[in-house]
């Protein structure tokens, strides 16, 4: 069971057994396919689990039971939904731009896939470990907005276009706050490489060690990342009560499912990013100097820590969605440009001063 604590043992043994049987070029090809399949399976599982979780959480917040009929406690409900979506007829408006209409869901999915590839899931379990990891993730996740804009325009529907333009304005604004709040912690770590950021939290997570600026940055990150994923209370792009479904009104069947999946995948990505940067990623809960305590914590495998923290972040985002009322577009932009951004900039200055004086733990 050693591999559960250090996945590089597992990946190394796969690599060695492949190298014994194939030439190097084929090994690279097989490993690329294996990694791709692993991410696709993770994507599908995330969709199944998170849709069920969202429905159950929303039901409990509204004092309902949620899905209960299919399987024990409705656990097979999402599977049944997938089969239903697969059998639906893909409809399209007569005047829709067919090429862009079909392309838009894939752009959103590709951006989610590319961002997920750089996440550190556990020790030694990371597909891409760039020394600009954080910059890379923010770069590829900014591509998703293109898919939303194209979907909104090519649907040939006024609701879709309004939803897409709202979403564009929202994502472009809140990207700044997400980036700046992450930069506040980068000031502490001195590196953008995600594996280094995780390793640097071996003596305690940054949210505890970074004083008040780290807590402020975490709160801003939570708000801004909820807005960036188009989730309530910032779900103006979809806003069921005014825009029917916003930018994906005209989509049906699997293309609609792709938008749905990408939304949940993006929620997972921002939660994982927040967990990695603020809450230590797969690093167990350590307190510098308490050797016995740290050793006990090390018995829990890193992957359990990672998914535990991510689940906590996801639960918080679902809690927001089912608690707060939706913002108006002017309130949304005022919140970002007049409150979050100035606070964020001041926060980075304070953090830089703290690090310069060596006042952090």
């Amino acid at each position: 069971m050693n591999w559960l604590y250090d996945f590089s043992i597992l990946t190394q043994s796969i690599h060695e057994s492949l190298s014994r049987n194939f030439v190097p070029g084929t090994v690279v090809l097989i490993e690329m396919i294996l990694a791709g399949v692993a991410f696709m399976i993770l994507f599908a599982l995330l969709g199944l689990v998170l849709v069920y979780a969202e429905r159950k959480v929303s039901a409990f917040f509204q004092q309902r039971l949620g899905p209960m009929r299919v399987g024990k406690w409705g656990t097979a409900q999402t599977l049944a939904d997938v089969i239903k979506l697969l059998m639906k007829e893909p409809l399209m408006n007569k005047n829709a731009d067919k090429f862009l209409f079909n392309l838009a869901p894939y752009i959103i999915m590709i951006s989610a896939f590319m961002a997920m590839a750089a996440l550190p899931f556990a020790k030694g379990l990371q597909a891409l470990d760039f020394d600009v990891g954080l910059l890379y993730i923010s770069a590829v996740s900014s591509l998703g907005v293109i898919g939303i804009l194209l979907a909104g325009w090519s649907s040939d529907n006024k609701y879709s276009l309004i939803g897409a333009l709202r979403s564009g304005a929202q994502i472009i604004s809140y990207e700044l706050s997400v980036g700046l709040s992450l930069l506040t912690i980068v000031v502490l770590t001195g590196s953008l490489q995600l594996s280094v950021i995780v390793e640097s939290q071996a003596d305690g997570w940054w949210i505890f060690r970074g004083h008040i600026p780290a807590v402020i940055a975490f709160i801003i990150f939570l708000i801004a990342s909820t807005a960036e994923t188009n989730r309530g209370p910032f779900d103006l792009a979809e806003a069921e009560s005014e825009l029917t479904a916003g930018f994906h009104t005209e989509y049906s069947g699997m293309k609609f499912a792709f938008f749905f999946l990408a939304e949940f995948a993006n929620m997972f990505i921002v939660s994982a990013l927040g967990a990695t940067v603020f809450l230590g990623g797969w690093m167990p809960f350590h307190i510098g100097g308490w050797e016995a305590f740290n050793n006990i914590m090390d018995y829990i495998p890193p992957i359990v820590w990672f998914f535990g923290k991510v689940s906590f972040m996801i639960f918080m985002m679902m809690w927001f969605r089912w608690t707060f009322p939706r913002l108006r577009i002017d309130q949304l932009l005022t919140l970002e440009w007049k409150y979050l951004l100035p606070v964020n900039l001041m926060n980075i200055l304070v953090m830089a001063f703290l690090v310069l004086m060596g006042w952090h733990f």
């Binding site: 070029g25 600009v132 910059l135 900014s142 293109i146 276009l161």
Partner: protein
């Protein structure tokens, strides 16, 4: 042919096809999307060369920034759905002569130039090196251009705000 050669030729083919499509497409929004793929191909080439910083910047500035800006400005203008008129035949001929001539000249120079691999350029540009160079004021530092460009950006931003504010009706301040 090695794996990296296959990947390179695939990316190169994608880039060429989408660059051609971007200039020949008659619907303006589609041209912008083709441009996105061509720019993404450039980023892919940087990734292949292990030049991660430049690749991420390429994605953030061109794909995530400029293409989004182009799409936004197209959506805000009217007549998106109309097909663009086909240009005159003599214009097509003239521009193709110019284009092919330029390509031929570039290919001629590239194939005739003897590229010598520099032994000293093996060092990888890490994030820390880039940061220190960008704000360094010693030998090989770039702090002056960096600051000049930030002043230029600030001026452009103030200018944009002034232009956007001009037509505001007076009286309901």
């Amino acid at each position: 042919m090695g794996t990296s050669a296959i990947i390179f030729y695939t990316i190169a083919a994608i880039m060429i096809v989408f660059s051609l499509l971007a200039v020949t497409a008659r619907k303006i929004l589609r041209a912008a999307v083709y441009l996105l793929f061509a720019l993404g191909g450039t980023a892919a080439i940087y990734f292949m060369m292990n030049y991660f910083f430049l690749a991420a910047v390429q994605l953030i500035v061109y794909a995530g920034g400029i293409v989004v800006l182009i799409i936004f400005s197209i959506l805000l203008t009217s007549h998106i759905e109309e097909k663009m008129q086909k240009p005159d035949t003599w214009k097509i001929i003239l521009t193709s002569i110019l284009g092919f001539g330029g390509t031929a000249l570039c290919l001629f120079v590239i194939t005739n130039h003897l590229f010598v691999a520099h032994p000293a350029t093996g060092a990888e540009a890490t994030m820390a090196t880039i940061g220190e160079k960008l704000l360094g004021y010693g030998e090989g530092g770039y702090v002056l251009p960096f600051e000049v460009i930030s002043i230029l950006l600030l001026a452009a931003m103030i200018g944009a705000i002034v232009v956007a504010k001009r037509n505001k009706p007076k009286g309901n301040g």
